[in-house]
């Protein structure tokens, strides 16, 4: 990849031109922003790298309408800073996975987190990154600029290409601009913490909290090792986050703790501790990953999270972190085919899904980074790919081999 030609269009017209040229030449492009998520997905064989990093800047921000639009290469951090100035934030709390995936060539871009549909702990309460994509501008595999959605909060006009492109990893079209719904940043964050629960019991506590009327916006379970890494001591910690107006949250935290007494005594963590802790959960930094290890992100029904973890533990010795009420299981372990097979088999039995987040390129090239689709869906995947990118030049093989 080091020898690949780098194309960094300065505007959407240049982006369309570059793709049209590659289309004419039937020449595949590896699509990226700053490459911070290179390890999520299969390696792409391409003579040229097309980066959106020069498509930079916020193009619209209307706080009273809860919308912001930015060019795809705009760093997420820059958008967060601008939003914070008016007391707003990105709803899905997108993670910064660089502790797991490496630093890339610059800060992660909004195009990157939308293309990978990456969401943090707030996913469980307020939706995924793709849920807040109101509209996109993008260039398809023939070099045409296409638009979908818009800048309004409710829109069912035509097929929802915006959602389809979010999460499509640059394999259908290259995003040039994204419009997002945003929300007011909560005034206060507190955490209700229960200790020493085994995963199944901890997840049951998270479920009870999420089933309470107090508006839990984060529900994670840290096994002892992750808890120690968070500075909480090497005892399991089950965490429930509350975020709202400053005068509402303390009462709700007490009421929530009361609801959870059957799980043992709780402790209430203050704002500073809570913010740091949830950032660690968001970025899966509390997993702690060794140089040679692989990381998988499993998504299952919350009630099957603990059993899935046990199944993994029968095959290898995973380090674990549970988010999304126990439904998101982060697992670190040996970068081996056997471990990968155990993950694949575990989610198949749990009727869930997984994503290989990090592994050496050789493993990522050899194994599917997500469950294989059943034949009718695999056929639709190929046909949809062809409808956007008839010559297969955009990130070929990034998600599925041969697509």
């Amino acid at each position: 990849m080091a020898l690949a030609m780098l194309i960094a269009p300065q505007d959407e017209a240049a982006l369309a031109g570059a793709i049209a040229e590659a289309y004419g030449a039937s020449s595949p492009l590896a699509v990226r922003g700053n490459g911070t998520k290179a390890s999520l997905g299969r390696p792409v064989q391409a003579a040229a790298v097309l980066t959106t990093r020069a498509l930079h800047g916020i193009t619209l921000y209307s706080p009273s309408e809860l919308v912001i639009a930015a060019r795809a290469g705009t760093p997420v951090a820059e958008i967060e800073t601008v939003l914070a100035q008016t007391g707003q934030h990105l709803i899905a709390e997108p993670p910064d996975l660089s502790p797991l995936t490496g630093p890339g060539e610059g800060p992660q871009t909004i195009g990157g987190v939308v293309s990978c549909n990456l969401s943090g702990p707030r996913r469980i309460a307020l939706g995924a990154m793709r849920d807040h994509v109101l509209g996109v501008r993008a260039v398809n595999g023939t070099g045409e600029v296409i638009r979908s959605g818009g800048r309004v909060l409710k829109n069912v006009t035509g097929l929802d290409l915006a959602k389809l492109l979010a999460g499509s990893r640059g394999t259908l079209a290259v995003l040039s601009e994204i419009t997002l719904k945003v929300l007011p940043k909560p005034e206060r964050t507190l955490t209700v913490m229960l200790r020493d629960l085994a995963p199944a019991r901890g997840i049951a506590a998270l479920s009870a909290g999420l089933g309470s009327p107090y508006g839990v916006t984060g529900a994670a379970h840290l096994p002892p090792e992750a808890a120690a890494r968070a500075g909480l001591g090497a005892r399991a910690a089950s965490l429930l986050r509350l975020e709202d107006f400053a005068d509402f949250v303390p009462r709700r935290a007490r009421a929530l703790a009361e609801t959870l007494t059957e799980f043992g005594p709780s402790e209430i963590l203050d704002e500073a501790a809570s913010l740091a802790l949830w950032r660690g959960v968001r970025d899966a930094a509390l997993l702690g990953v060794g140089d040679e290890e692989a990381v998988w992100r499993l998504s299952v029904r919350p009630s099957r999270g603990a059993a899935a973890a046990e199944a993994l533990a029968r095959a290898f010795a995973p380090r674990l972190l549970f988010d999304w009420g126990g439904g998101l299981v982060w697992a670190a372990g040996p970068a081996s085919e056997a471990a990968h097979q155990a993950v694949t088999e575990t989610v198949r039995r749990a009727e869930g899904t997984f994503w290989l987040v990090r592994a050496p390129a050789s493993l990522r090239a050899a194994l599917p980074g997500l469950p294989e689709d059943p034949p009718p869906l695999a056929a639709l995947t190929r046909r949809v790919k062809h409808a956007f990118d008839p010559k297969g030049i955009l990130n070929p093989g990034r998600v599925f081999a041969g697509v």
């Binding site: 939706g127 069912v156 097929l159 979010a166 049951a204 089933g211 107006f245």
Partner: protein
């Protein structure tokens, strides 16, 4: 009127044989072919258009839907999916040479899990039926379109339905975890499930709002939410629509996201008051209904803050509900709004454009001017927080000129929404109604891309044809 092509005579000629084949595939009890019994299926909630279908099939299993679709495709017969038939855009309008495939007999609730906060249902379960199944445990299903008593989950998915509470809780796409659908070739496909966020292409997001163009949904896994501790509403009357719109912007800008933020203009206030006697301020030019959630103390605090904000806009009336009963009284008029308009006018068209909320004052002024220009009354009731307008155009269906003017006025209002940076439809769908206006919002490249995507699912363009796409884009592969 949108012109539909003449029905295919070769299909009409085979009608008896087709009906016999359908009866063999799904059982005679699940096929309707007598003219009298087909009559109720000739239209949907958009009653200006009527077509008696070739036959109606109501399979009682996903496999039955698959068998019928496979049959239709291999015989080149068009199919129109249908749920409850409450579409306000003609999304379920039948065609004379098409088989209607209804999901109303797929009406079982398959699983309720409060632990995993989900419900798995067949797609013919009603929207309210989902909430009814879980409310005993303190949960609810968030999307709540006005038709929720009748409308079905399959239709909610087809139109990505919202409702009054989607400012806080989102629309159908945000509350959908899994789907089973049948492709036009009769393949049964399951996507998502009880978990969140499946990698690969976002089939759930794509199917939501796809208006029966891509497949027929037979089963869905829906996210349910624990109900808040309580909710209360307030009502505020303003001297002018501009002022009410400024108050809306101030509320959202203050950091409070009410669970509902509804706007009514003077004609609508009057109609609702005459109908429901809800105590609405008849002197106000515009009125907001604002609902907040939380504990009793939190409700007091939020309503107090909202009152302070509204007071800055010199309101004529401010009424804070102190009890659930007083809240219900405030909502009573709004919930009966469409019925109330139905009392003062023999017929009305309900528009559904969305605008950026900041353009509300301009939109109101220009809709009023259009109303004068066309000589038809327009009453406005809508979800103000998300800019989803519902202008109701009053006309008389017995007067052909009146309907033509109403359609033309509606088209101008939707063009205005697009011009202001909005869109043609927020939650009712394009259907037959807005098909030819799609060119106003999208470029040829945009529509051609959507059409290629449609053909990836339906190469023969047999599913719900003549809708959503302007005719020049609606071509089989």
């Amino acid at each position: 009127m949108i012109a539909l092509p003449p029905p295919d005579p070769s299909v009409l000629a085979r009608r008896e044989a087709i009906v016999a084949d359908l009866a063999r595939l799904v059982g005679p009890a699940n096929v309707i072919s007598e003219v009298l019994r087909l009559k109720p299926y000739e239209t949907d909630g958009f009653t200006a258009y009527k077509r008696v279908p070739l036959a109606v099939c109501l399979p009682d299993s996903t496999e039955g839907v698959a068998a019928v679709l496979r049959y239709c495709t291999s015989n080149g017969i068009r199919a129109v999916p249908r749920a409850a038939g409450t579409s306000l855009s003609g999304g379920a309008l039948p065609l004379e040479d098409a088989v209607v495939i209804g999901v109303s007999r797929l009406n079982r609730i398959l699983e309720v899990s409060c632990e995993d906060r989900l419900v798995r249902v067949e797609a013919g379960v009603t929207n309210l039926g989902v909430t009814r199944a879980v409310e005993g445990e303190g949960f609810f299903y968030a999307p709540d379109p006005s038709s929720q008593l009748a409308c079905m989950i399959a239709g909610n998915i087809a139109m990505n339905s919202g409702g009054a509470h989607c400012l806080k809780y989102g629309v159908t796409a945000n509350n959908l975890l899994g789907l089973t659908f049948v492709t036009v070739e009769g393949e049964i496909v399951s996507v998502g499930g009880g978990h969140l966020d499946t990698p690969g292409y976002d089939w759930l997001g794509l199917m939501c709002g796809s208006e029966g163009q891509l497949g027929i949904v037979t089963e869905a896994t829906l996210r349910i939410l624990r109900a808040a501790e309580g909710a209360r509403a307030m009502l505020v009357g303003f001297r002018a629509t501009d002022v009410a719109a400024a108050a809306v912007a101030d509320i959202i800008g203050s950091g409070i996201i009410p669970v509902a933020l509804e706007f009514m203009d003077k004609p609508c206030i009057r109609a609702c008051e005459d109908f429901a006697h809800a105590g609405y301020p008849l002197d106000a030019e515009a009125m907001l209904i604002i609902e907040v959630e939380g504990s009793a103390d939190e409700q007091d605090a939020l309503l107090g803050r909202l009152e302070t904000i509204c007071q800055r806009h010199d309101p004529l009336t401010v009424r804070l509900a102190r009890t659930a009963e007083e809240s219900a009284a405030i909502w009573k008029g709004r919930k009966g709004a469409f019925g109330a308009i139905g009392r003062i006018s023999p017929d009305y068209l309900c528009m559904d454009g969305t605008i950026p909320p900041a353009s509300l004052p301009e939109a109101m002024r220009r809709i009023e001017a259009l109303s004068q220009q066309y000589g038809l009354m327009v009453a406005n009731v809508f979800h103000a927080g998300d800019g989803n307008l519902h202008p109701l155009i009053l006309f008389d269906a017995n007067d052909e000129g009146s309907f033509a003017r109403a359609e033309a006025l509606g088209a101008d209002i939707l063009r205005l929404c697009v011009e202001l940076g909005g869109c043609l439809t927020g939650e009712h769908g394009v259907g037959i109604e807005k098909r030819d206006l799609m060119r106003e919002q999208f470029s040829s490249a945009d529509l051609a891309q959507q059409a290629r995507l449609k053909r990836a699912f339906d190469p023969g363009w047999l599913l719900n044809p003549h809708k959503v796409f302007p005719p020049e884009f609606a071509k089989a592969a």
